[in-house]
């Protein structure tokens, strides 16, 4: 497979995943803000920005609607949903011969949806409904990506993009939430504390899944365990790490190069970190540092994939 094509598929997928993450976190934050107790709206907004990876992404102005609107529609802001979806479509457009017509049509429709005036009008009247509409579009795209495309090398790069983006985003989210989770401000606010915990789970669409595993009894360490170490839940970081490992192996099986030692080592280390640790050990040690390491390893995997499959030096390639 052409390196450029692999790169475009990878980024198409990352951008879609990023858009989904942004929409979901915004949605959760907006509903948390309805409750006046607990953290202030400003603190919540800042936390949202931090967990999206850019503390000054959309600065706090107290005009909630225009802040949310900027985060969704402002194409000049790299954090925005529109920016991500534009990026996804632009990448898809360059590999139209590789993806299925259904994928292209779904993404194309979503792109036009984001740019239509009706969507912005709907946004002003009901933010929740508008966000739900965008999520629907994204889910449809993810769905047809899995069901209409041959699960060859291209699809493996799509998976790689999806899981790397998701693992990184979840690790960032946990890192940002972590101080609030484990240092509640006294027992009397437990109602608000509960809402925060539900919010965190909903940011990863994992509230229902959590309840199935642990019942509705929410505790910070169980949530951390679930989002970090669960091997069966698609938004848990361990699940993503398994997905990354499997995708890289499959790239080789479907005609790509053998992954270099370095890449195998980082992926193996990430896998081991999540597979052979208990949440007790993590909490006894430096939890923030643990999450930070995960993020660093995700970045490292990204770099190695880029350097090895996409932008490798001609000299090294000719030497083989």
């Amino acid at each position: 497979m052409l390196s450029r094509v692999a790169d475009s598929l990878y980024w198409m997928s990352r951008y879609v995943e990023r858009a989904e993450n942004t929409v979901r976190q915004l949605d959760v934050t907006m509903s948390l803000m309805l409750d006046t107790g607990g953290a202030s709206a400003e603190a919540r907004w800042k936390r949202l920005m931090a967990s999206l990876g850019k503390p000054d992404g959309v600065p706090w102005t107290s005009d909630l609607e225009s802040m949310a609107s900027a985060l969704v529609f402002d194409n000049t802001n790299h954090l925005s949903v529109t920016h991500s979806l534009n990026g996804a479509r632009e990448n898809a457009r360059q590999v139209r011969e590789e993806i299925s017509s259904e994928q292209w049509q779904r993404l194309n429709r979503l792109f036009h949806h984001m740019h239509s005036p009706q969507t912005q009008t709907q946004f002003r009247s009901s933010i929740n409904e508008a966000l739900a509409g965008v999520l629907d579009g994204i889910h449809l795209f993810q769905g047809v990506s899995d069901t209409t495309m041959i699960h060859g090398q291209g699809w493996q790069f799509i998976r790689l993009g999806r899981y790397l983006e998701r693992a990184y985003a979840t690790a960032t989210l946990l890192e940002v939430f972590q101080p609030d989770l484990f240092h509640p401000q006294g027992r009397e606010q437990s109602g608000y504390q509960y809402l925060e915990l539900v919010g965190l789970l909903r940011c990863c669409t994992s509230f229902e899944a959590y309840c199935q595993v642990y019942t509705a009894e929410l505790s910070p360490d169980r949530i951390l365990e679930f989002l970090l170490l669960n091997r069966d839940f698609p938004h848990a970081i361990r699940y993503c790490a398994d997905g990354i490992r499997h995708a890289v192996e499959s790239v080789q099986r479907t005609g790509g190069r053998r992954p270099p030692e370095e890449l195998v080592a980082v992926i193996g280390r990430l896998h081991a970190m999540l597979g052979y640790t208990t949440v007790g050990e993590i909490l006894a040690g430096n939890a923030a540092g643990f999450l930070h390491t995960i993020r660093e390893q995700c970045m490292r995997i990204h770099e190695l994939i880029y350097r090895y499959y996409v932008h490798y030096s001609i000299q090294s390639a000719l030497a083989i």
Partner: protein, 487 residues
């Protein structure tokens, strides 16, 4: 035809004008031509809104398939659907036979001409074609002199534009020997048509064209360098911003080959490679959809990043086939065009089966005078342009435009030719809920590898604006499916 149907048909035709121009469907007296009768009966038998309904469903089909072309100079919404007319253009087996023989003859001669000019230049030495005409051509590439091209095939993918005059005879208006486009519309038009009029299509006995992509692949394969039995064939596109990008992706997908951009290619030791996730992979045949100028910054335009540095040297070394060859634009220069019948006589010792359009060469004093005195009756074209740009249509021009062209002709006579304004044929198109005649041309697609191969069909382009003579998609043209009958 029963009388009941005729009435219906007359409503459909309304005040459909028939005048000097050849009408594809109706004879001068209004009678429907034999090959169109079954179509006319079908149209007459349809309920009133049915035609509109089918038109809408065909349009929707194009839209959802994303069959679009790019309009330059706009920021967003740059992709447009290529307008499509519902009624097929029907060509009889006998007419097609002549077209096929004529084009085969013409392409063979043009290829011999290119080979000759880039080697011994006999045709110039024998003074059949003026030397200065060839050497002053913008698309002449001196780098091609003495270069051996695989199987001596310079032009393996060609799309020639034909017109039908009021005598009913087909003539060649121009040959596109560089990077002709539009074949994807020919193929998708057929697909949509089969869905729109399935029974009618079946009853007509239309010759198939669907194997074009396979033929193209076989053509490319036949031109692979020696000793490469399993050649790696790629399609080189300028990228997503090119107006024909849809076609590039379409053909690559149909042939199952990689669609590459210049940045995917590297050359080393005169071998071209593409970057893949499995390392560098050797490229053997490049179906090039990038103009000469942008193909190799080391040889052609240095400021272009669309091509691949070193490509030309690899080509010269015979390690990669690039098709069409470089410098083929020489033979579709509109002034060189005037000499094609002479080439056919010179190389093949035959008379041209498909005639040329009368062409005035403005480099010649007497012809130039005649043209300058009759600008309002003539069409003036810049020799190296395509896509309907750089053109003056005399009868539809203003005095100011004519003055401007006269000045440009005086300044650079070699750069222009003139032709009489042609009354070329018209075919009925569905405009609103009526049929109205619109001017059409015909672009068959010719492949040349082991031998000349023409799929029976082509793109019928339509000047959708009333009275317009310009059929180019960039200038408001549309298209029709073209049916070549079995017999």
């Amino acid at each position: 035809m029963s009388t009941g149907n005729t009435v219906e048909l007359e409503t459909l035709f309304g005040d459909y004008p028939l005048d000097r121009a050849f009408d594809e469907m109706r004879e001068a007296g209004g009678e429907v031509r034999p090959q169109y009768r079954a179509l006319a009966e079908t149209l007459a038998g349809l309920p009133p809104d049915e035609l509109q309904r089918r038109k809408q469903s065909a349009d929707l089909s194009f839209l959802t398939q994303g069959i679009t072309f790019t309009v330059y100079g706009r920021d967003e919404g740059t992709e447009r659907i290529f307008p499509y007319d519902l009624l097929p253009r029907i060509i009889t087996a006998q007419e097609w036979d002549r077209i096929e023989r004529g084009l085969t003859q013409r392409i063979t001669a043009l290829n011999l001409f290119l080979r000759d000019v880039y080697s011994d230049a006999k045709i110039l030495n024998d003074r059949i074609i003026p030397r200065e005409l060839v050497y002053s051509c913008k698309h002449y590439r001196r780098q091609m002199r003495g270069l051996q091209v695989p199987r001596n095939v310079y032009i393996s993918v060609v799309g020639s534009d034909l017109l039908r005059l009021n005598t009913g005879e087909f003539v060649v208006l121009e040959d596109n020997l560089r990077v002709p486009s539009g074949v994807s519309y020919m193929l998708t038009n057929r697909r949509v048509m089969k869905r729109t009029f399935p029974q009618l299509f079946h009853s007509y006995g239309v010759r198939p064209i669907e194997h074009y992509s396979q033929l193209l692949l076989a053509t490319l394969r036949s031109l692979a360098p020696e000793g490469r039995p399993e050649p790696n064939i790629v399609l080189l596109t300028p990228g997503v911003f090119n107006s024909a990008y849809f076609e590039h992706t379409y053909l690559a997908r149909q042939m199952g080959i990689d669609l590459v951009e210049g940045r995917d290619l590297v050359t080393h030791d005169n071998v071209v490679y593409m970057r893949t996730t499995d390392g560098l992979k050797r490229v053997d045949v490049i179906y090039r959809r990038v103009d000469d100028d942008f193909s190799d910054p080391l040889i052609f335009r240095g400021d272009s990043s669309l091509g691949c540095a070193g490509l030309f040297n690899a080509y010269r070394a015979g390690n990669v086939t690039v098709t069409n060859a470089f410098g083929t634009g020489l033979a579709d220069d509109k002034a060189v065009y005037a000499y094609v019948p002479d080439m056919i006589r010179y190389y093949l010792n035959e008379d041209a089966i498909l005639p040329n359009v009368k062409t005035f060469l403005l480099g010649e004093e007497k012809q130039r005078q005649h043209v300058l005195e009759n600008l309002e009756k003539l069409v003036v074209k810049a020799v190296g342009e395509s896509g309907g740009y750089g053109m003056l249509i005399g009868p539809q021009s203003t005095a100011k435009q004519r003055e401007e062209f006269a000045r440009q002709i005086e300044a650079n006579p070699r750069n222009y030719i003139a032709q009489p304004t042609l009354d070329f044929s018209r075919a009925p198109c569905l405009i609103g809920d009526r049929l109205e005649p619109r001017h059409v041309d015909l672009r068959p697609y010719i492949l040349f590898g082991d031998k000349v191969n023409i799929v029976p069909g082509g793109l019928t382009r339509v000047a959708l604006e009333k009275g317009s003579l310009v059929v180019n998609s960039s200038q408001g043209g549309g298209s029709k499916d073209t049916w070549i009958l079995e017999q």
